[in-house]
Point group: C2
Chain length 168, copies 2
DNA sequence: GGCAATTGTTGTCGTCAACAACAATCTTTC
DNA sequence: GAAAGATTGTTGTTGACGACAACAATTGCC
């Protein structure tokens, strides 16, 4: 709403490559990025921000953020995992996972069950409500994924997933 | 587990797909990610974290973080830009840019010059010290970029840059 | 039995995106 | 030319997130 309406979102950007040393002026505002264009990290960061914003927006009606979704997905696929295992798998601090689970448990999507074999740890499970909710989340996430496809192209997305498979 | 020179960069990840319904157990801990593996956002996020950590570490000796580097690069390539223009170009909140510039100005890398034509805005320039410093930063950033190449492969990085060119 | 390691938890700190509000300064409009 | 509206830089707040440190309860090791 606040932001100016203008700005065509469609950025073809076939960036033909200017000569070489010349400061390649960028289409958007006539501001050149120069060296920045050659940095993978910059492109990845901008892309990641775009993806997350679309994810948050697409799953907005159910109020689920990317991290929450990843937690629910892992628990759904591996019931009974400990918090430590989930945290390690997702690369989340176990301290942070505590708050995430507090929230998800309050919403009755997840339950912590005291482990009999190791009384320190909790076995994580989805509630029945959590199962059906996750099913809906997955449908919305698939919709989000189609947005990604529409943005970068079908086979580009495929190739991207292949390139980054090791980080999954 | 810090450096991990790991030559195993070439992991085409032929994750050929286990059967179908079976929870494809992942190598790491035997914890399946299931649906998460098909989400571009998850892979991109993990990759972005890896990239930033390597960037921060590689540019650690000069204490420059990715965002600071991007700001310096844009100002270096386009001297005289206003804060608003830089913020818009990099997708940074102008509120946030204020603190970034405060820091960079304290370190005598950047200077804000009152614009004569528009007394609201500041024209941003690198100091002489900032110029030479940026040259060094760029060398270190190039080294970081080589780390990325070593991690995902040369042509994979190229392809990645091409796929995400619109976000640059 | 004693000591180190692990698990969940609490708390702090710093980064970062998203807003809101404000003073100073253009810009537009009447 | 003055009033109304928009823009620029600034300050402050909020909330998500990663990195640590410390702690109690529990387990594993010797």
């Amino acid at each position: 709403m606040t932001a100016s309406v203008a700005r065509a979102d469609n950025r073809p950007s076939p960036r033909k490559r200017a000569g070489n040393g010349a400061a390649a002026r960028d289409a958007a505002d006539g501001v050149g990025l120069d060296a920045l264009a050659g940095h993978a990290g910059y492109a990845v960061r901008r892309f990641q921000i775009w993806i997350f914003q679309d994810f948050i927006k697409t799953l907005g009606e159910v109020d689920i953020r990317p991290t929450q979704y990843s937690v629910l997905t892992v628990i759904g696929a591996n019931p009974g995992l400990s918090q430590m295992a989930v945290a390690k798998r997702l690369g989340i601090e176990r301290a942070r996972l505590v708050h995430l689970l507090d929230s998800l448990e309050q919403r009755k999507l997840v339950k912590r069950i005291k482990s009999k074999t190791d009384r320190r740890s909790h076995a994580l499970h989805l509630t029945a409500q959590g199962e059906t909710a996750l099913a809906k989340f997955k449908r919305l996430a698939a919709e989000h994924e189609r947005h990604v496809e529409a943005k970068i192209g079908r086979e580009n997305r495929q190739h991207l997933l292949r390139i980054l498979a090791d980080f999954t």
